[in-house]
């Protein structure tokens, strides 16, 4: 499987992972600005944003009728489309690719939905192994607090589809804690760079830049 091997493209692939409210998108944006300010060419891609299928996924989610396996393959389709159309061409062209969420998001979420761990890893076996995978780790309570302040979680976001609880907030808490657990288990499996996402934003960013610079050789 391609996911388990280092790629040989001239470009570099940096991905960020973590639960909602971990601050990973904020950190990635800051990193992107910094890289661009240094005159480097950067391509950015985020989860569930392909032209091919993201609309279909959003529509399907609205109906609240997706079963976990279908949900899983749909997201893999989105990812495959972006991989082939955005990520791999950019890597071949020697660019820096920044991905907000990568296949590890599926490994955490789909497994939290009860999908077989090996099956979902095989499903995403076509993925290119990132040069750096940064995991923004937060304790469950912090993540919940950050999210709870903003809005009520969506049906799938809260894992309502697997019947953890009929109360969206409670379901979200349970689901989120399972996801964090899955992420924590992947740290060793996929050599995540663990970022303490409870630290001040500036402090995290400095560390993120330092480690990225090392990976990029800049």
């Amino acid at each position: 499987m391609r996911l388990n091997k280092n790629h040989s493209y001239p470009g570099k692939l940096i991905v960020v992972e973590g639960v909602d409210g971990s601050g990973k998108s904020t950190q990635l944006n800051l990193l992107r600005n910094w890289l661009e300010a240094r005159g480097l060419h950067v391509v950015f891609t985020e989860w569930n944003s392909s032209k091919l299928i993201s609309k279909t996924i959003k529509q399907a989610k609205r109906s609240n009728t997706l079963i976990p396996v279908t949900f899983s393959i749909l997201h893999a389709t989105d990812f495959a489309d972006r991989l082939e159309n955005i990520i791999i061409p950019a890597l071949k062209a020697g660019l820096i690719v920044l991905a907000d969420r990568y296949c590890y998001t599926a490994f955490a979420r789909d497994v939290a939905r009860g999908v077989d761990k090996e099956w979902v890893r095989n499903l995403y076996g076509f993925s290119v192994r990132p040069d750096g995978a940064f995991y923004f780790q937060v304790p469950v309570e912090v993540s919940l607090e950050r999210i709870a302040n903003s809005r009520l979680p969506g049906f799938y976001e809260a894992g309502m589809d697997i019947g953890l609880s009929t109360d969206p907030r409670e379901s979200f808490q349970l689901f989120q804690s399972i996801i964090i657990n899955e992420y924590d288990r992947m740290v060793g499996e996929f050599d995540f760079h663990v970022m303490q996402a409870t630290r001040p934003i500036h402090e995290q960013q400095m560390l993120f830049r330092e480690q990225t610079a090392k990976l990029l050789g800049i």
């Binding site: 279909t56 393959i73 495959a80």
Partner: protein, 263 residues
Amino acid sequence: MVMRPYSARPVNIKVAQTVPQRREEKVVPHAYPGKLIVLEGTDGVGRSTQAELLQNWLAVEGFGVVVTEWKSSLLISAAIDKAKSKNALNTITFSLLYATDLADRLHNVILPALRAGLIVLADRFYFTAFARDVVRGADPTWVRKLYGFAVEPDVVFYLKMPVEPLLRRIITTRGGLDFYESGRDIGMSTDLYQSFKLYQTKILKEYERMVDEYGFKVIAGDESIDVVQRHLREHIQEILSEDGTNDYSVPISESDRSAARSM
């Protein structure tokens, strides 16, 4: 036992650490009261015609029948058509879209019907993907594992036909050749006829490989419609009668009867 790569509903979670895992590597036979009958074969071999005839026959015989076609799910078939019309698919997205289609139909059509004791006639099943995706360059093991969420059919009929008559039939009945059916997306030849021939020959080879792997019942597809139908019925009758544990004599509803009569 039916293969489920997910657990339907985790219970009793207060301290949520993880949900129960099921290890599935291989599709296993289902234990539902219904029967899953699959018709496989390449484009233009007459699968759909045969499926329709079987459906009518089974209904007249008093069986509840559901026909399900490849790429027909409400969820995704429109998206597949759109993507194909733009020729926007690569090998992996092509595979995954079709897998999504089957996953959706499996849970909304096939499994509910099998649970209810109906006969499901599947016009193509995952073997179609095994053939097509592998010809398109997908890893055979990857594709087989991908469809690990599905159920094993009770019987698979492979309608087999050499490529030359197949070509003649497709050109005459459909008035031309299709881009994907001709494998033009994988750049075999710019000559559509040549491309179709090369592509379908490779597909036929993959089917041939699967005959033993999955115990296909091979039916000569270049016989007349009636002869093919007779062969299919003989096999199906055998399967239905050897299955003593299921009481297929239970009458179907009155509305189904009148529907069958009106056919």
